[in-house]
């Protein structure tokens, strides 16, 4: 055990994902030895994201403003909407530079055992947007794993009667992974090769 402040820093670091007790101790001592200005900058960056960042009130992507930069950008195609599980997926797709429409962040995927159903996701908000905005195509870019597929199946059943073109990312993505871990080239190709979904599902 160390003195109060050092030990509580180790404890806090140890609660972060992927950081065990040994790493927590190593990082804590790195912070102690590093220059004061660098570490104050780190602390400020943490404070900033926790106080300034919120969710865009249109697409629910993380944003510093009420409406995010993507939703504010008039050069983007307002007729295209890409539905993703998390904000990290927006970043992954933006990196490919193959997509120029807008997004809708669901906040997760349907996982019945985990108690996550349509009511726990932003599905109602999606339907409202589809009624109010002039959207002609919705691209379902949920993860290429089982929960993501089931979410796409559910959304297809919900949205088919609305009369909007629905498409799903091409299955070039290996089944089982998460979008945020896909490389740009694969993800970009999946976007370009997206397939239209029929109404028979």
């Amino acid at each position: 055990m160390y003195d109060g402040a050092v030990q509580s820093l180790i404890d806090e670091l140890g609660r972060l994902p992927g950081i065990g007790p040994k790493s927590a101790q190593r990082i804590a001592f790195h912070i102690l030895e590093a220059s004061e200005s660098d570490m104050i900058a780190l602390a400020d960056a943490i404070t900033d994201v926790k106080t300034k960042i919120r969710l865009c009130e249109i697409c629910f992507n993380v944003s510093e403003h009420k409406v995010c930069a993507i939703c504010r950008d008039e050069h983007r195609d307002t007729g295209l909407m890409c539905v993703v599980e998390e904000s990290q997926d927006v970043i992954a797709i933006e990196r490919t530079r193959t997509y120029n429409g807008r997004y809708h962040v669901l906040g997760g995927a349907i996982n019945p055992i985990g108690g996550i159903g349509p009511d726990q996701l932003r599905v109602r908000e999606l339907l409202t947007r589809l009624q109010d905005e002039s959207i002609s195509e919705v691209i379902l870019a949920t993860n290429p794993n089982l929960e993501g597929e089931a979410t796409a199946t559910y959304l297809t059943r919900m949205l088919s009667p609305v009369g909007i073109t629905l498409s799903r990312l091409a299955s070039g993505l290996p089944v089982g992974g998460d979008l945020e871990y896909a490389d740009e080239v694969t993800l970009g190709r999946a976007f370009e090769g997206r397939r239209k979904l029929g109404e028979t599902l």
């Binding site: 992927g18 019945p112 108690g115 597929e149 089931a150 199946t153 992974g177 599902l201």
Partner: protein
Amino acid sequence: MKSLKKPLNKTPRKRSRGSGTYIAQSYRTHGIILRTYKLAEADRIIVVLTADHGQIRAVAKGVRRTTSKFGSTLEPFMHTRLQLVPRRGMDVIAQTETIHSYGMMLTNDYDTFGAASAMVETAEQLTRDDDGADGATQYRLLHGAIAALARRAAAPMMLLTSYLLRALTVAGWAPRFSECSRCGIEGTHNWLSEPMGGVVCDDCAPPQTTYVPDGVVLLLQALLVGEWPTVDQAQFADTRQATSFVAEYLQYHLEKNLQSLSVMDQG
């Protein structure tokens, strides 16, 4: 088979480690993936109901990367062969191979997906603290039910309800629909009681017991033994009553609500 390289180590996790030089021996098994939990980095914890080791929890490293060698083998509902390395805390999955690719066959229909979710959630609950022979029976039941869902053998809700009745029977909570659950007198009784464990006769029915039509009782009998021609001809109203009784009966014994059932009620 005599050519087997290593004898199957039945309970490797419980072997004493003795001196520090002990090298963990890997073991092989196969089973149905029940559920997964996200871990740090791109890892997941995988919960499996195996054919011969009961329910196990193991770590799959890097499985969320789209380049992972595990691919879809560790997605829920998949029937997968596994090679595991015992570790203190939790075993680590070294290699996998798909035996039956049920997962993706179940996601292209939402009701089928919901039924499969409720099945694996029930199996997870019923085999959680079980090391005995029941685990193997529960595995066979679950595998059969998932396979039936995948080939669309009957309506998803009926397959689920039939599975729940049989899984509860294996767990020691056999419901009775052909004789009074309390006094044992045979015949078609129409009072249905969760605490009593099935139908009860006029004399045994406590106040507040639900009365159901003959169709519901006959359907419950058919679901318990898997008499599918009778199930296929059931009236819609009867299937609803039978389904909701079984869900209540299950949750009465588990002493908790099944998350999957409430999520599927959202529509």
